[in-house]
Symmetry: C2
Subunit: 354 residues, 2 copies
């Protein structure tokens, strides 16, 4: 119960147990060749002084931090916070610490995050790039000497392995689903079109429409409820009144749903709705909203496993950018048919992703 402001050091433990520092180190790290009674003495001293090793010193000496990083746009976003939770768990069971950094999808913050991780000498990290096409990011990543895995969005040029959901196919299938319901005039409300995921989904939508010989109607200027409502208002009037709406992002789906409800537009009677990405109440709301579900857990898990595989593989030799396997993992999405697209409500699928 000795107490002061400073932390006891290994040397103090050694003195207290009347052994050398080497022996204490051996006990801490569970190395062989130390007598049971010596070990007991050391352990008693450790307990007595409340000793906890100083990670900084260990890192400085050993060049291994047992720490990985995660760089995401936002930690408040349920998608990324779920990924973070998964990563955290896997890191923990490998005895690793996870450092999460956010970028708000800004280049500068992303650069800063990578620098921070490098300064902390993390053993590797997972990143959801703000912009897949950024040359700066690519060159930044090229000069990183630890394993990196891209999550949710690949890096152009594939300088790093990536684990992403198949946004293109997911959106294509979803659009086809609407087409199969007999809708002809299907509009698509996007989110930030600058984002890789949104662009891919838009491409999938366009591909499906083109394949069916239908005209694609893309509305890209949706940023909040007002703009979403305005876009929908426009789509509702005139002879080419829209029959179905495909939203590419959670918040847009919610806004569209709200707007349609407020305008008392029957869903799916008058206009059908299908959203990309499942969310908490999508199945509870009336009508329940049909969505494309992303394999969030699997994304996180796969990214983590990939990273740790590289971490183990590269344990001896430092890993030059060239040698990194250019692996691209593409994960399947699934369509959860509920009521809003015109399918009969299926009472068994009240599922939210949680």
């Amino acid at each position: 119960m000795t107490k002061q402001g400073k932390h006891p050091t290994l040397r103090e433990v050694a003195k207290c147990a009347e052994v050398g520092t080497t022996t204490v180190s051996r006990v801490i790290n569970g190395v062989e060749y130390v007598e049971p009674w010596t070990k007991a003495r050391v352990e008693r001293a450790i307990k007595e002084l409340g000793y906890l090793p100083n990670i900084a010193a260990r890192v400085l000496k050993g060049h291994k931090t047992r720490t990985i990083g995660l760089v995401v746009p936002s930690i408040a976003d349920p998608f990324f916070s779920s990924c973070a939770e998964v990563l955290q768990g896997i890191a923990r069971q490998h005895g690793f610490l996870l450092i999460v950094l956010t970028t708000q999808n800004e280049r500068e913050m992303e650069r800063e995050a990578i620098n921070t991780l490098t300064q902390h000498r993390v053993d590797g990290f997972v990143i959801a790039p703000a912009d897949a096409e950024s040359d700066e990011l690519r060159s930044l990543l090229m000069r990183v000497t630890v394993p990196v895995v891209a999550l949710d969005r690949p890096v152009a040029g594939a300088v790093v392995p990536s684990v992403v959901a198949d946004n293109f196919v997911g959106a294509k299938h979803a659009t086809r689903h609407l087409i199969a319901h007999g809708y002809k005039r299907i509009a698509c409300l996007t989110g930030e079109i600058g984002l890789y995921t949104i662009r891919e989904r838009a491409r999938g939508y366009q591909a499906a429409m083109a394949a069916a010989g239908l005209k694609a109607v893309l509305s890209t200027a949706i940023c909040d409820y007002a703009s979403c409502d305005a876009a929908i208002a426009k789509m509702l009037k005139g002879p080419d009144q829209v029959q179905a709406i495909f939203t590419l992002k959670n918040s847009v789906t919610v806004d569209a749903f709200e707007a349609l409800q407020r305008r008392s537009v029957p869903i799916p009677g008058k206009v059908a709705l299908l959203g990309y990405d499942d969310f908490q109440l999508a199945g509870t709301v009336r009508p329940a909203i049909t969505v494309v579900q992303q394999p969030i857990e699997e994304l996180g898990k796969t990214a983590a496993e990939l990273l740790f595989r590289h971490l183990k593989g590269a344990s001896a030799a430092a890993m030059p950018a060239k040698a990194r396997t250019r692996q691209q993992v593409l994960l399947k999405t699934s369509l959860i048919p509920r009521a809003s697209c015109g399918c009969r409500p299926d009472p068994s699928s009240r599922g939210s992703s949680s």
Copy 2:
């Protein structure tokens, strides 16, 4: 563009710039007394070698990590991930790194998390304790030598300052609101009754009921949809059929809403519903759900500010547990009246908390 597996060191920069290590250090840390041209040479060398300081060495030398910790039950929980985002932002603008650790509300993981933070010698941390009453936690916290702030849940004995929402009053007001609507038989569905926040809310409910001379009906065995549905089924039959339901937790609110809808019970016609904690679609769903809203942003912000104030105050002298101010910040919650409690739907309040 020189490239190899290892990181360049400050000494190598010094050699490259043909100056002493001290000078390089001074340039990096922006200290006075260095000629502009010398500084330029050093900066060129830094850029050329791609030098980034080794944090571990800096920490080892200086005893300051510029790192704070956050210990929460789960990072996937929107409440805590929002807190984390706020903390992250404030830490960043102080030039601090944030390390987030999760406990799943388990004692053992909590202990481990605190140890991890201590080993990393964080300058302070914020914690949402798994169990407010735990003696072990209290003693663990007593021997921590850095500032600590409790978030969302206080620590019994007030060994650390805490920032919590007023769960008791929030629940009391909510219950009164239901009473004011004329409901007599008001049931309360709790979540994990072991949690401080839930207990406080339950107390608030009971207090309001008692004050109105009404009988409190507490159902504490709700853990999933099935149990929630069963509880509601029971409340719906018999002569003492319940008139209003007060749910103390997000997931329970959603389950209750779902159950009532499935059973085609008119809300609020037959049974009114009021939930604790706002959530994304609470205002969009029909009927829109009346909820008690917690000041999430403010909780995080206040905790962060408190922590940094103590961090600055304790910069010189290490802070013994005794000297920590026993500050208790209690933040007000607010009731968002929507349709499910019997209030007329207010079209202006479609608000979700985001």
